[in-house]
């Protein structure tokens, strides 16, 4: 079966992923201490957190929370497979990140700030799961 360009799963995911990652780049760059490409030239933190409440990298928490909520909403709403690929696997997957999260947390532990790292881990997981479930419930509530 011949499929058009917009039917290609890989291209849908790549396109959505590029936009989601671009938005993450913009958000992390616009918020304080959020930019990986900023002055993080040493082996400390990828996205900072210094000077923010509790020393946590809140911008990363924010993009991960929003991406989880949006993915939950998509799945709760029951969108068609192309939207799931473009917005779900693509945009939400590109907006959220695990690598920056892991390097930040490892950097905090290397800086002997294990309690901040633990708080960051717990907060990210709890808020991410909570946002996903809340998004799914809200989007599916009217069905």
């Amino acid at each position: 079966m011949r499929t058009g360009l917009l039917e290609s799963p890989v291209l849908l995911v790549a396109g959505g992923g590029a936009v989601g990652a671009g938005l993450r780049w913009a958000v992390l760059g616009a918020l304080p201490d959020g930019n990986l490409g900023g002055d993080a030239t040493t082996a400390t933190l990828a996205s900072g957190g210094d000077g923010l409440p509790w020393g946590l990298p809140w911008p990363v928490v924010l993009v991960n929370l929003v991406g989880c909520a949006l993915l939950g909403a998509l799945l709760g709403r029951g969108v068609d497979s192309r939207v799931r690929l473009l917005v779900g696997a693509g945009f939400c997957g590109g907006l959220t990140t695990f690598s920056t999260f892991a390097v930040d947390a490892a950097g905090l532990m290397r800086d002997s700030r294990a309690e901040v790292a633990a708080a960051y881990l717990a907060l990210s997981v709890v808020l991410g799961l909570g946002a996903f479930l809340a998004g799914r419930r809200l989007a599916g509530a009217d069905r």
Partner: protein, 122 residues
């Protein structure tokens, strides 16, 4: 940042997202694929963050490629799916510890991988 940064970022991020989807959809498949790309991406970003790479490289490869290769939203989705056996069509038994095990494995391996990456290049 040169004018090349934005198109390079979009292309590399798109490739990272596509690789992540292939890992979850084709091989090794499902939450194992997501675990693989998350741990691999954490290791590579650790290497990169510890190195003396330029700001443009950090942005394009780190924020773009490795950020899009890894995911937190699919991690949350997989954990919730693993906790809800009603969605499961396979006949195997499912314990309530499975989503906790999946999250714990991802966090422990991801942190260890990021740490290792930082150790190697820092």
């Amino acid at each position: 940042m040169s004018g090349f940064t934005i198109p390079a970022f979009l292309a590399v991020a798109g490739a990272g997202a596509a690789l992540r989807w292939l890992a979850a959809d084709r091989w090794p498949g499902g939450h194992r694929g997501t675990l693989l790309v998350n741990v691999l991406g954490a290791f590579l970003l650790g290497l990169l963050a510890g190195s003396d790479a330029s700001a443009a490289t950090l942005t394009v490869v780190g924020t773009g490629g490795l950020g899009a290769l890894t995911t937190f939203s699919r991690l949350a989705q997989d954990a919730v799916d693993l906790a809800e056996p009603s969605d499961d069509t396979s006949p195997g038994m499912r314990s309530p510890g499975v989503p906790v095990l999946y999250l714990g494995t991802t966090l422990v391996l991801g942190l260890a991988a990021a740490w290792l990456g930082l150790e190697i290049t820092a």
